[in-house]
């Protein structure tokens, strides 16, 4: 490999040819500030519009300052990252950005976690010259069921555009207009609701400012808890426990399951349950559906659609409802764990309590913003009463814990309530890419072969690679599994299926890179993708530590079928736990 040697801030460094000054400096431990550049190394994502101009440096012999994120190193180059000229330029650039930025930091949802605010602090900005009379560009605020676009706060870093178009291939957002009116927006500057947005929230996950944030439901949750006529249930998604600790300064990958449960109890939820229970239930239904389709297929039934696609991820559901409208009968009809939980809570559990469904309030804590939209879908309502009333993100839960004066670090571990709090290791791994299908394989294998699994861990299904495949031997029957995370990867996989190029029996798709652990509702990773990896390790650690690791062995799941549902895919199960999909393509267009 050809390399070049250069000097940055009087330190020598040797880097491969083609390396940018920004990255070479990083190698030396010099963090050149930037607002637009972003690299998610483990996911192969780079956003490099060279637009913010904060990262300028002085290069000896060059007339103008160089944007370090977009300037390649050359042999013998002498770079200075903090000369007076650089500092002055950087401050002026930031002052200009701030001059067209609202000054409402006190009430901004991003306050305290805002990269623009951090930059103003870092560069010692104490006043914004001329801001009293400077004109500001203003735009209409866009409130979707999941995401708020407050683009007055957009600084045109275009990270969201990279996530939306290149990583997710959703194509909802693009830079539009020019000059002062330039902004990132959906086509024709319509609201997100009228765009092909899937609410995956990856734009929110990378937005450096308050331009993209989630709809906050914490006030509604507080009100429900305070209402004496309501019994309030909470369910927590698998990925939340692997990331919540980060909001309290804990190391990424710290598992806080027990603390999370005690915090939820202190907040005042009447029952603290686990979405993992519903994940086990999902496996019973989805796994049975897989085996049913498979058996019929092997018996020569030509009407059977294979591969079966997982349907747990609401952003993925939105994505295929927009983009694969010819394949709406291919995904599993199983509802997501969030919705299965709601349906069981407001039927089976309500009966147990002797209460009517509208006396119960079901709150979900999700690593996800699309879940906010999912729980509002009409087909998940019963006479207007939703199965899941409110969905809050991991970030919103952290906020609630802080607002309720709970010292999270000092909490002791507590266990979930029963019966909807018991879960297996299979339910836990739903939080990571490959986890749903591994959980399904654990159960489907045993149901199909009638034999216990020789080994529970299917490491061939795990990892961070965007598209993976593996063949699992079902006692002589090879089952081809496909896995995709990130909607762009899902699109590639699905296009192969559509063209008949792929021969999978089952495919798992998660919309977010890394799966739910990298969800749009998780603590912000600020471009550090090693955080997502640490969460993934935590998820598999939690699984390995569970006494029961196969969904069909969850005693409360067994009981639920005995007492209430009958058997998987029974008429009652169908009614409560399965759904259907809609063609949303027409909604994309402006009409």
């Amino acid at each position: 490999m050809e390399t070049v040697k250069l000097t940055i801030d009087n330190k020598q460094v040797e880097v491969p040819k083609g390396t940018t000054i920004y990255k070479a400096a990083k190698k030396l431990g010099i963090d050149i500030p930037t607002l637009c550049y972003m690299e998610l190394h483990d996911l192969g994502v780079e956003n490099k519009p060279a637009g913010c101009r904060i990262c300028v440096v002085e290069v000896e012999g060059r007339k103008n300052l160089a944007p370090s994120c977009a300037t390649e190193c050359a042999e013998g180059m002498v770079v200075k990252t903090h000369t007076t000229r650089v500092i002055n330029a950087r401050r002026t650039v930031l002052e200009l950005i701030l001059s067209d930025h609202p000054k409402d930091c006190l009430t901004c949802p991003k306050s305290g976690r805002c990269e623009l605010q951090d930059m103003a602090i870092k560069l010692g900005i104490r006043e914004i010259p001329g801001h009293e009379y400077a004109e500001m560009s203003t735009y209409k605020k866009d409130l979707s069921p999941s995401i708020i676009r407050d683009v007055d706060k957009c600084i045109m870093c275009r990270r969201c555009e990279t996530m939306c178009n290149e990583v997710q291939t959703v194509g909802a957002l693009s830079a539009v207009n020019r000059g002062f009116m330039a902004v990132v927006a959906p086509a024709f500057e319509q609201d997100l609701e009228k765009s092909p947005c899937t609410y995956c929230g990856q734009c929110v996950a990378v937005c450096p400012t308050g331009a993209l944030t989630e709809i906050d439901h914490t006030s509604k949750v507080i009100r429900a808890i305070a209402d004496p006529t309501k019994t309030v249930l909470v369910q927590t998604a698998p990925a939340v426990r692997a990331a919540l600790g980060e909001e309290f300064g804990m190391k990424p990958g710290t598992l806080v399951t027990g603390k999370m449960v005690s915090a939820l109890r202190q907040i005042g939820f009447d029952y603290v349950f686990d979405t993992d229970f519903a994940a086990d239930l999902t496996i019973m239904e989805e796994g049975t559906e897989l085996l049913d389709r498979l058996t019929r297929f092997l018996n020569g039934d030509k009407s059977v659609k294979l591969p079966i696609l997982t349907s747990c991820c609401p952003a993925w559901v939105n994505f295929f409802e927009h983009n694969f409208t010819d394949m709406l009968d291919v995904p599993s009809s199983a509802k997501s764990p969030q919705q299965m939980f709601g349906a069981i809570a407001k039927s089976y559990f309500a009966e147990k309590l002797g209460k009517k469904r509208d006396e119960l309030v079901v709150v979900s804590v999700m690593p996800c913003l699309a879940k906010k939209y999912e729980c509002q879908r009409d087909e998940f309502k019963h006479d207007g009463n939703p199965d899941v009333d409110f969905s809050i993100s991991t970030r919103e839960l952290a906020h609630l814990i802080k607002e309720f004066n709970i010292n999270f670090e000092e909490l002791s571990d507590e266990d979930f309530d029963q019966p909807l709090g018991e879960s297996t290791g299979a339910g836990v791994i739903f939080g990571a890419t490959g986890g749903v299908i591994e959980a399904a394989v654990r159960t489907a294998y045993e149901l199909y072969t009638g034999k216990p699994l020789p080994k529970i861990d299917f490491t061939e299904l795990r990892g961070m690679e965007g598209i993976r495949s593996a063949t699992i031997d079902f006692n002589g029957l090879p089952i081809n599994i496909g896995i995709a995370h990130g909607l762009g990867n899902a699109r590639k996989l699905l296009e192969d299926v559509r063209l008949g190029k792929a021969t999978y029996h089952a495919i798992e798709v998660m919309a977010c890179p890394g799966g739910c652990i990298g969800g749009g509702g998780q603590p912000l990773h600020h471009g550090n993708s090693s955080i997502i990896k640490a969460r993934m390790e935590a998820i598999y650690r939690e699984d390995a530590g569970k006494p029961i690791r196969k969904s069909h062995e969850n005693p409360y799941i067994v009981k639920l079928y005995e007492e209430f549902l009958g058997k998987p895919m029974s008429e009652k199960a169908h009614h409560l736990l399965h759904t259907h999909y809609f063609n949303k393509k027409k909604d994309v267009y402006i009409k």
Binding site: G171, S174, N177, R178, A187, F188, E189, Y589
Partner: protein, 164 residues
Amino acid sequence: MHMSHIKLELKPEQVSKIKQICQSFNNDSGELINVLHKTQETFGYLPAEVQEVVAAELNIPVAKVYGVVTFYSFFTMIPRGKHPISICTGTACYVRGAEKVLDEFKRILNVKVGETTPDGKFSLNCLRCVGACGLAPVVLIGEKVYGRVSPDGVKDILKEYEEK
């Protein structure tokens, strides 16, 4: 960028015309700007509905197409009115009061320069010199030239088009 208020229903032959243009550039998304030039040449402007067809044909998000259309000032999403009004703001016309005439058109029609009235009847634009400086200030409506226009005369000029 101001959008047209007028809803457009593309006729099948218009859709196939757009498809033809895209095909002449091998449906290559890298040719988006050229495709848009040709399309605007054909339709006179680039309404949302046309952009949607272009996006589908080139297999790119319609947001991207809209991004390009709004970036380059040559592209417009506003159709020319049935009677396009052009006011000369060249030097001779300008010194003889073209701006006041323009203001009067703006006031009466309630549109800005570059816009079209909601009923699609008039569009308002400026141009520089039509070679009739002796008649300054000059206004063109369609092919017809009006000379020595005064702000007071604007109303009467527009009256001519009331029934048209």
